[in-house]
Amino acid sequence: MSENPVVRIQNLTKSYRRGMFRKEVEAVDELSFKISKGSVVGLIGPNGAGKSTTIYCILGMLIPDAGSIEILGEPPQSKKARSRLGFQSEIFHTYEFLKPRAALRFYGRLANMSGTRLEKEIDHQLDRMGLMSAVDQRVGSFSKGMKQRLGIAQALLHDPELLILDEPFTGLDPQGRKLIRDLIFEEKNKGKTIFFSSHILSDIERLCDEVVMIREGKKVLSGDLQDLKAASNRWAITIRGGQELLDKTILDGRWNVTMRDREQGTGIMCTDQDKDELLSRLLESPVEIVDVKRQTRTLEELYMKLEQESS
């Protein structure tokens, strides 16, 4: 991983005024994180958590109240920074009167492309996104999935180093989701940095190296996905007998019993850190250890746990 992050956000704060009485709503509060070069980073959080606000601050469309943002060492409003990034918004909205080739030509020219390079790249992206058969249709007649694919095509057209995708899987059928997933893998293998927000945690888990989880504009956790999952891994220990000593002497209020069953036994849950201590206590006690299993949390379980804790 490179020393210089591709995106650096420090203490980003952004609030809005909404409603008839212009009530202030804090969308993002002191948010800080970094995105390293070549990584795939997922931004997760419930609706209204501030994911889109964060993305639009990175793109320079929203002006932060406080804090700083750097994209490839430049401020978000810098044209230089934006010439090196590609963006696709949740359900790509473009000019419906255009045909896909004309739409891509428009976006390509805005990204300073022209001539044969542009035309070749348009053909390549249309082919890659499976839109060649729809080149004579207007974008207005496209399905959600087709619009989404066109959006990705325009984001990739100028071969950006950083790809920012806001909810790229919204409205896609399983085939469309697979196409976008494969594409993210392809771009990752080319060394591109990808930052995307999504509600679909299984996709985040499958694609991302790192995650940033936010809730009510605040960072709940961030870091390497595997490390986060490992840190939240648990051990499920099943024992039999020794019930009279179990709660007071052995567990001592530090561990919880998750199951009490005459036939199956008693289940106790512990973390990686205190597994050895619990096992040695159990071995010294008149109990029979039936099973010791490592339980790996999925991102969804981790997310739900954090959600419960924070609410």
């Binding site: 793109l59 469309m61 934006r82 918004s89 473009t94 255009l98 805005l110």
Partner: protein
């Protein structure tokens, strides 16, 4: 310049793709037919009045009405062009590209103006063609009127466009339309009693572009210009030009630091 041209062409293309405007163009035929029916009758009935009648009816009626319709439509659409981009999220794909906000604002403005000025000129061209066909003498008045209307169209469209950056769409369009439509009343009411009333009405009068009225020969600045007060005509053009440029400058400055809340009007 390249970005402005691209955005302008795209905006123009967007308007041209709206079928409603073709119906709108058809209206000029109806307006012209209704006016000329009267002109034609009077033209032969009172030969000595032909010049006056022709100019009054053609300029005030046909061209005036055409200007009135085009300006109202332009005001409505100009107040919605930026909010609509923001609301339907198409702005996100554009502003994420390496372009400056000011080029986007100028590009959109140019596209709106280009479209409505073209519509107006097409209508005026139709009127001119018909005048030639009916062998009506075409005086300089027609061209002066055309030029002046064109300038006012630009100014009011710019006013509406600029207001849409700071106000909700409906308010921006409504305010621009009020200034456009009630301008002559402001002057009339300014003569009344009451210092506060005079102050408010005068303020409204002076923030509105110099206006011709629907009947340019009877009152308003064109009347003066037709009485050979040519400097006044140029002064009017100059004032409106500066006014429009100032509005555009405000629009560009205000948009630079505006939050583009994508998905919201």
């Amino acid at each position: 310049m390249k970005t402005i041209r691209l955005v302008a062409w795209n905006t123009l293309h967007g308007f041209a793709a709206k079928k409603v405007f073709y119906l709108f163009l058809f209206l000029i035929v109806i307006i012209a037919a209704l006016q000329w029916q009267k002109v034609y009758n009077i033209f032969y009935a009172y030969a000595n009045l032909q010049l006056f009648i022709e100019q009054v009816w053609l300029l005030s009626g046909t061209l005036g009405w055409w200007y009135f319709l085009t300006a109202i439509t332009a005001i409505i659409f100009a107040s919605g062009v930026l909010p609509k981009e923001q609301q339907d999220k198409s702005i996100a794909g554009v502003l994420a590209k390496p372009i400056s906000r000011w080029t986007f604002v100028l590009g959109k403005w140019s596209g709106v103006l280009l479209f409505f000025c073209t519509i107006f000129v097409i209508g005026a061209g139709f009127i001119l063609t018909a005048m030639i066909y009916w062998q009506f003498p075409i005086l300089g008045f027609f061209y002066i009127g055309l030029l002046h209307y064109l300038l006012l169209l630009v100014t009011f469209t710019t006013l509406s466009y600029m207001l849409s950056i700071v106000l909700p769409r409906i308010l921006a369009g409504g305010l621009a339309f009020s200034l456009f439509y009630f301008h002559t009343y402001f002057l009339r009411f300014a003569d009344g009693e009451g210092a506060l009333r005079q102050l408010i009405v005068s303020a409204l009068y002076y923030v509105t572009p110099v206006h011709l009225n629907i009947y340019p020969l009877w009152e308003g600045s064109l009347q003066d210009s037709l009485h050979l007060s040519v400097p006044f005509l140029w002064a009017t053009i100059g004032i409106n030009g500066c006014y429009g440029a100032l509005l555009l400058l405000f629009a560009v400055i205000l948009y630079q630091k505006k939050d583009i809340a994508v998905g919201q009007p």
